[in-house]
Amino acid sequence: HRSPLNDFQRLRATELLAVPADPVAPLPERGSAGQCAQRCAASLTCRAFHYNRQSQLCQLLPWTQHSPHVQLQKNIHYDLYQKKDYLRDCIVADGSSYRGTRATTEKGLRCQRWQATTPHDHRFRPSPRNGLEENYCRNPDQDKRGPWCYTVDPNIRHQSCGIKKCEDAVCMTCNGEEYRGTVDHTESGTECQRWDLQHPHKHPYHPDKYPDKGLDDNYCRNPDSSERPWCYTTDPSREREYCRIRICKKRPRPLNVTTSCFRGKGESYRGRVNVTVSGIPCQRWDAQTPHQHHFVPEKYPCKDLQENYCRNPDGSEAPWCFTAHRAIRIAFCFHIRRCPDELSTQECYHGHGESYHGHVSKTRQGITCQPWAAQAPHVPQISPVTHPEAHLEENYCRNPDNDSHGPWCYTMDPRTPFDYCAIKPCSGSAVPSVLENADVMAFEQCGRRDERLQQKGR
């Protein structure tokens, strides 16, 4: 049930280019990514492969991103898979499989090239099978202390390179939701299943669907706010299991703590609202009735699960709580005010700002405005050509179409065609209230409902 892809680290939409181009690049072959991984694993020279998901073509490569004269490049047609052993800068078990590029000992001595026999003669000759290369640290004799090398110091024959075990190389804080290390085995030593595969265990945590959870390859992660990082296992009889990862000594100071409002999803909200908007008290976090749950305060030390205050320990949409009502397990606390997240304004405008000629050139979210004369990243429908009289200078905020909400601009963010600017109406700026005159309503076609349950008596 173990996928051959488990030995590889995937980089999406990326190509590995040899510089200059390799004249004898291996011809691509057709197959699944798994078959391609199998071919690469079986080849002594293969260290990576390109995989084109659309054409299902796979091209084996004799180098990785750490090899000389190669470079990574964005390419939406390829995913790049590289052998983990060549990329990891930590070791698994005794490090016999380590193929990284560390070339100094733990005391900082430079390593002797394996090819060389001076200053130290030795019996370990490089071969495609044993991975001895250049002067990189290796463990050809399964030394318990891990990868080592002969040193260039005539007085010191060899020395350990002091490469850490992966579970110690990157520590975790709190519940490990931010852990991005490379441990890929569980506490019991079982290998993890890749997050981008649905076998042997089907699961909801697709990496594409949770881009902020770092669900890379088959590394241990904590996407669902469990107590610690975990993974689905390659053992069909055991769905998931925790991983052993060192806890950092220092606990991080909570950032951007707010009490009277919440920002983003409210993970750092530490206020005291403890009643749902429908008037039901929240359940205490240290209680298991009326609702059983796993958010025990002691197991979530960084989440401040005090009393029965609204909190967001699992990255939900907003602070929430278990409710004291048996029939209502969870309620969001959206009634807590959101903290303002717009830039403070420097200038102001009169009316709708149609005569504003100031120099503010950022949107209220802090994005830089696109010059009015530019054609990218957005092709403007309004420009100095179409509106010569509107003073559309450089990338200053303006209101050429008399937008009732003030000066705006096209933005340099490709995902945001336009936005309003960090300018506020001047106090006392007279704009007729909407309540002073009501227009007669006229409609076209929408808003019709062809059947109404009321007429049928619910």
Binding site: H206, S278, D401, F418, V434, A438, D439, G447, L453
Partner: protein
């Protein structure tokens, strides 16, 4: 919806997070655009990968075989003018309009819906035991005149807010309804006059309920869809 009853509102959509859980409502104003409220979303450039809208069904969590159900990924969020508390959500593909799915009209710019117009809120939110929480609930609320409402709120009412009168039976929107519609039937057409936003307490019997006055932002809505 507290104090409502199961009903039909074919422009009301359910907004679902990555785990598929309903957390807010919205209104379909164009085949590929939904209006909701800023309060439901973490930021104006939130990564909504995995977030979806569900429409075409009365059920909050329909079974697999529901024929008219449509579930469409959200690809972009656009925040409204600062005071508006509105957001526009672009869908990855147009919704299919049918017997269960319809667009709701937008009012003319800056239109003020007359007091005592009977409008309707709809949503899959908390019912506090007053309705059937597994299906869409609707409730009727009369619009309250701006002056009257401003007096009841001791002068704190904004021009961008619209009020409905409190009902002795305790009728109103609640948690899970935010972002959904206040729709008013005018000239045989349903019009999106307001958007539901969080209040401190649901369905109060002694205070008006507040909604975002959509007519103040119709120009922005059209501009976003055009841009």
């Amino acid at each position: 919806i507290v104090g409502g009853q199961p009903g039909n509102s074919p422009w009301t959509v359910s907004i679902r997070n990555r785990a598929g859980v309903h957390f807010c409502g919205g209104s379909l104003v164009q085949e590929q655009w939904v209006i909701s409220t800023r309060q439901c979303f973490s930021s104006c450039d939130a990564d909504l990968t995995g977030y979806k809208v569900q429409l075409g069904t009365l059920f909050k969590d329909p079974g697999p075989g529901d024929p008219d159900q449509q579930t469409i990924p959200i690809v972009r969020i656009v925040c409204g003018p600062s005071e508006s508390q509105l957001v526009m959500l672009k869908l990855s593909r147009p919704a299919v309009l049918n017997r269960r799915v319809a667009l709701i009209c937008l009012p003319p710019e800056r239109y003020v819906v007359p007091a005592n117009t009977v409008c309707e809120i709809a949503g899959w939110g908390e019912t506090r035991g007053t309705g059937e929480s597994s299906v869409l609930n609707v409730a009727q609320l009369p619009v309250l005149a701006h002056g009257e409402c401003n007096a009841a709120l001791r002068g704190r009412l904004k021009e961008s807010e619209l009020c409905t009168a409190p009902l002795r039976a305790g009728v109103g929107a609640c948690e899970g309804d935010y972002g959904g519609p206040l729709a008013c039937l005018t000239a045989d057409c349903w019009v999106l006059e307001g958007v539901i936003t969080p209040s401190r307490v649901c369905a109060r019997i002694d205070q008006p309920a507040l909604f975002i006055r959509v007519s103040l932002y119709v120009d922005w809505i059209h501009k976003v869809m055009k841009m």
